[in-house]
Symmetry: C2
Subunit: 350 residues, 2 copies
């Protein structure tokens, strides 16, 4: 007991904060610190890679991937989707970017007393629609109800199980200098769509969330290249977090080019007005892939032929200089370091 | 869209309530109605059995079980355990009573802004201890933070994956007249321990939660009999819900004997004082098994030799009369119907 208390205090003092801050859920630096110093240190087996979107393990001859995510998005219904669609697509995407074909899903609901049954039905029907589109089945679930005021309407957890082909080897540690960075479309739409629907900051725009399942896109990509080294979906923390995680895990530099990163004019406009860096804003239907240079054009052209990849682009390259860093050549010709988000930008974005 | 709206309204009107009630999370009648008319109707594949504690599917040559549970227990720390220990043991038990050997676990945290980092560390260390004891690994996780007042301190979701031996065939549908009902110890301690620690109703007692992992007990039981037809752990809704689910799924009657059901004197005493039926009160380290009559004594003696089964007892039998009903021969010699809990007894018990 004494030993446990000692460990506890040591860990707690490693963290700069004595309390949980919103930033601990941001997808940025604070969250990485919390994961590393509390969750990974206490919970994960020592050999477990903690920054990939899902974990891969072997059962018999099969390689299975597992991923879990809780969804607490506010508001529940927003332009382009709702919490149910997000909860299904987000978990599918975490499996997909690990190279896994999604098979089964578990769904757990925490409901606030007084939540409208009609809204719950809307959300569950939306989940079913997203499952049917992706060909995944929800096979088990759980329901908890807490007293009024003890949660905010509904939180949904989904856990996905997928199967990984034995030939697939994708990990954030495998980026190599010379590789190119591909993206499947324009960034930051989800975050700005959520923001446009927030009560405290409602604004008029036609921005809709990009929430979409990326499993078919990834399946296509894997069919044309066995040299896709890393893949990440660009959720909390946005493009910058995903690139920084890869740069850090692979101990390489990454150089991106601002003028090649697709973004809708009105998304850029609202980011400017509200003071958000679009590289930090969450997406729910976007991924990056780090691909061997010689394969990049073939993968790109394949991505563009996919419904979820029409706007795909090569936005950068992996370099041996600046290991662990992401550098951006800006529109005006200079260079800047693209840092991981520190603090919190948009709580409850997913 | 029109069609979806029509389905939605049809489903919503099937439910008597227009809003989520605390009772929808009770483990009793209302929860079964919600699961059947919303979650199962919208989410589960048509052939899926929804009332077992976990779902079994095949991957390659392997039979895997998956189960998910969110833990919202209040208070977080209580006599005998905490939310972390509960979150690990509860999910292990859901796998165990399906006959699965627990392999891997995913853990997802929803944290309230301002939650004490020391408490989070205490909880994660407690989870690790429970995992180590059961030999299960947490392999992936998720963290969300919501604004102060939008959740209550911390909610934890755990999803477990286990492997089911091909010879094992356990399901709530398989109880047969003549089978006996076995329990591994005294009931209702968890619920009363939680209640004794609630701010609004703190009372002095030495009751501690029975939270414990039952995987080793189940492994032992399965090693002496291949005629264990059903197993359920006795969480929300207590013994009465588990028995009623089996009676209903197997279309049989179940007769139990009040004087054979183990219960601690002080647990019975506090139930009497506070007006709770101990058959409805939650347990976190108890299971019932429906076993072929000829095997029951061997299974019982094996259970008693296990740390989690010292107080095991045969408490009843499966009968062909009264299909779907649970009947109890009371201490005073009469009979009463043991109904599933309707409404809510103890919100946030797990």
């Amino acid at each position: 007991m004494k030993q446990q208390t000692a460990i506890l205090h040591e860990k707690a003092t490693l963290l700069r904060q004595k309390q949980v801050l919103l930033g601990h859920g941001s997808g940025g630096k604070l969250m990485h610190e919390l994961i590393e110093k509390v969750f990974a240190a206490h919970l994960l087996p020592p050999d477990m890679e903690m920054l990939n979107d899902s974990s891969v393990f072997c059962v018999g001859e099969s390689r299975l991937a597992i991923t879990t995510d809780s969804y607490v998005v506010d508001p529940l219904f927003f332009p382009g989707g709702d919490i149910g669609k997000l909860a299904v697509n987000g978990t599918i995407n975490d499996l997909a970017v690990s190279g896994a074909r999604p098979l089964f899903m578990a769904a757990a609901f925490i409901l606030e007393e007084g939540f409208a049954m009609d809204d719950l039905c809307r959300i569950t029907l939306s989940m079913r629609e997203a499952c049917d589109q992706a060909g995944i089945s929800i096979v088990t679930g759980d329901t908890k109800v807490v007293n009024r005021g003890k949660c905010d309407k509904v939180f949904i957890n989904t856990t996905g199980i997928g199967i990984v082909d034995n030939a697939v080897k994708i990990s954030s540690e495998l980026a190599k200098p010379g590789d190119l960075v591909l993206i499947n479309g324009d960034i930051a739409a989800h975050g700005m769509a959520i923001l446009s629907a927030r009560e405290e900051l409602e604004f008029e725009s036609s921005i809709v969330s990009d929430t979409a399942a990326l499993d078919l896109l990834v399946k296509d990509m894997l069919s044309v290249s066995n040299e896709i080294h890393c893949m990440r979906d660009l959720t909390r923390g946005g493009l910058s977090s995903a690139l920084n995680e890869i740069a850090s895990c692979s101990k390489v530099g990454i150089r991106i080019f601002e003028d090649r990163i697709p973004i809708q004019d009105q998304v850029r406009g609202w980011c400017d007005v509200l003071g958000f860096d679009p590289l930090h804003v969450a997406n729910e239907g976007k991924l990056i892939a780090i691909v061997m240079r010689d394969h990049a054009e073939a993968v790109l052209s394949n991505m563009k032929s996919n419904a979820q990849g029409r706007q795909s682009a090569i936005i950068g390259e992996v370099i041996s200089e600046h290991p662990g860093r992401v550098i951006m050549k800006t529109n005006v010709g200079g260079h800047r370091i693209v840092d991981m988000l520190s603090g919190e930008q948009l709580p409850r974005i997913c």
